[in-house]
Amino acid sequence: MSRALEVQACIDWVMTPESGGIDVFIGTVRNATKGKQVLRLEFEAYEAMALKEIEKIVANAFEQWPVQKLLVHHRVGVLAVGEIPVIIAVSCAHRDAAFEACRFVIDNLKQTVPIWKKEVFEDGETWVAAHP
């Protein structure tokens, strides 16, 4: 979960001879939030449960769309600006399913998977989404 994520390797893994379209979502660490400079992000996961929740989302995607292969990688630990915390890659025979399944996975991952992100600024730090 915590080595650098290799986009090319992810795409090679999902591509099959039956694939016509692959959609890849890559989350990257932004240098600012609401105009405030971000120095780094710190990710923490409840790993056993996170893997289970990701598996549920993936199974759900396979039920809803004719997905060929689907990959989800999420890093934990300290990430600098420009680094990649998450990659989702989906291969399908046709592109519509690939786009929809990929978006479904990232949208649900952000809602249900027990992973937490702390934004570290020059003058403090915040657990994202913790407070209203």
Partner: protein, 79 residues
């Protein structure tokens, strides 16, 4: 009943550590929440928080067992 609770993210900061022992009156998820909120009122300031039992989200009515793995799940923010 005494329950061991795992804490992540901001919950770890609120409890001052990655796990704690809680004495609860009602042996349900709701009972656990009541006990925790009494000892740690900052929990109530969160946008929301859930309880997971054995790696699954659990509803308020869920009856806890001393052998359960219980975790406090503050608002997630992966991705």
């Amino acid at each position: 009943m005494r329950v061991n609770v795992l804490a992540f993210g901001i919950a770890r900061d609120i409890f001052g550590g990655p796990s704690l022992q809680v004495e609860i009156n009602a042996n349900t998820v709701a009972g656990l929440k009541t006990s925790l909120e009494t000892s740690y009122p900052k929990l109530k300031a969160l946008a929301s928080y859930l309880v997971a039992v054995n790696n699954e989200y659990a509803a308020d009515e869920y009856v806890l067992d001393t052998r359960d793995e219980v975790a406090i799940i503050p608002p997630v923010s992966g991705g």
